[in-house]
Subunit: 132 residues, 4 copies
Amino acid sequence: MEYVFTRKINYYETDQMGVVHHSNYFRFFEEARIAYLENIGYGYDKLEQMGIISPVLSISCDYIKPLKFSDEIQIKLNFITSTSIKFEIEYEIYKDGELTSRGYSKHCYLDNNGSVIGIKKHYPDFYNSIKK
Amino acid sequence: MEYVFTRKINYYETDQMGVVHHSNYFRFFEEARIAYLENIGYGYDKLEQMGIISPVLSISCDYIKPLKFSDEIQIKLNFITSTSIKFEIEYEIYKDGELTSRGYSKHCYLDNNGSVIGIKKHYPDFYNSIKK
Amino acid sequence: MEYVFTRKINYYETDQMGVVHHSNYFRFFEEARIAYLENIGYGYDKLEQMGIISPVLSISCDYIKPLKFSDEIQIKLNFITSTSIKFEIEYEIYKDGELTSRGYSKHCYLDNNGSVIGIKKHYPDFYNSIKK
Amino acid sequence: MEYVFTRKINYYETDQMGVVHHSNYFRFFEEARIAYLENIGYGYDKLEQMGIISPVLSISCDYIKPLKFSDEIQIKLNFITSTSIKFEIEYEIYKDGELTSRGYSKHCYLDNNGSVIGIKKHYPDFYNSIKK
């Protein structure tokens, strides 16, 4: 499963080096991840109704080329692992066709009590949708 | 009632003009406001236990001189209005003794159901603590 | 001159009250302001080439109804003052046709040396474009 | 070399789950890193005068236990690699003596032209100060 999310760099996302502050990349990844889930029919509202949250267990980013204000970027999102209890996503940020950074995030599924749930058994449709 | 809160400008609070982004001043005001309330014995935990929240109704800032990374600033906080149902705070940000910006925020008191409450009647001690 | 800018609320823009943190509204205003200038042919790149910056002198916001994650909002931007050396913008944020907040920002025009410039004389086309 | 940086969680750093948004951890790491460098006599001003910048090449964080508003945290910073041209830092965030997250960042040294520089040769005192 591959998905491409497009957005533009905002002025307030830059720092005094004139480039996007490195912490903001994780916000871009989140935007892309949420847009992807919405795109496959599992937007935030739906998952909330189903009683599923998927917290970030770990996240990372390699910075290859800096991004600047008003740059238009494409974030390619790719589920590299997807099991009943967790998933891992790879993110690649492209600008003008060139790879500028690459990130990874790991998530698990929790119910409203904070207990790990297996979506294969409890939400097979969701499991199949997200399976790469 | 006047109170002075000191903090240092972080790198990630700058933008590509090399100065603090104007939106961050409202975060500094919030830090100073919360520190003040804690200082008079009404920290967030206490107010939460009492079931009071005080949302921002309006806020503003006049920018006089820009702030830069690693500047040490003093935020002078002054309750200019304080009634049973609302309060207004003035904030002055100083650097090296010089006024660099001035802001105002207005707040009301709400209970956990989102209804306006009068603290003079329900929380007279808090009312007297906050009265200028 | 009226202009409408549309965007969606991101997850990371919420706070623990479950609503958009009040400081983020000023970032939305900035996004709308920059989009407007781009729309009339005076994007950031162009203004930079012309050697004009327009810093925020003051800004304010009245909060009427809170915004939540994934809300789609319209920001109506209106130049209420526009002279040779400064301008003032009014922002109205609508959700589902309902006004949820209103803000104002004041700006002046500076050249690369930080000196005030009159755009009526030096950049008459820009002056006429921005004139309401 | 180990260094401990203490700070408190701000209200605006929380998200609607009632915990610190994961992107903010990278800002805490930066605060700790800059404080450490200042502590050993190489604050931002000094490095700027020397013409050295040390951009983030990659960064990561593992989230063990969530942080909440007003939590007081200790960030233990440890240089795990330090050569003439790059360094790697480990960050551990503790709350009440308990490890809540662990992160890593990699950096190189660049001069004002963006060229890699070897600090062992050009800035031996700095090299020796930062050597673990």
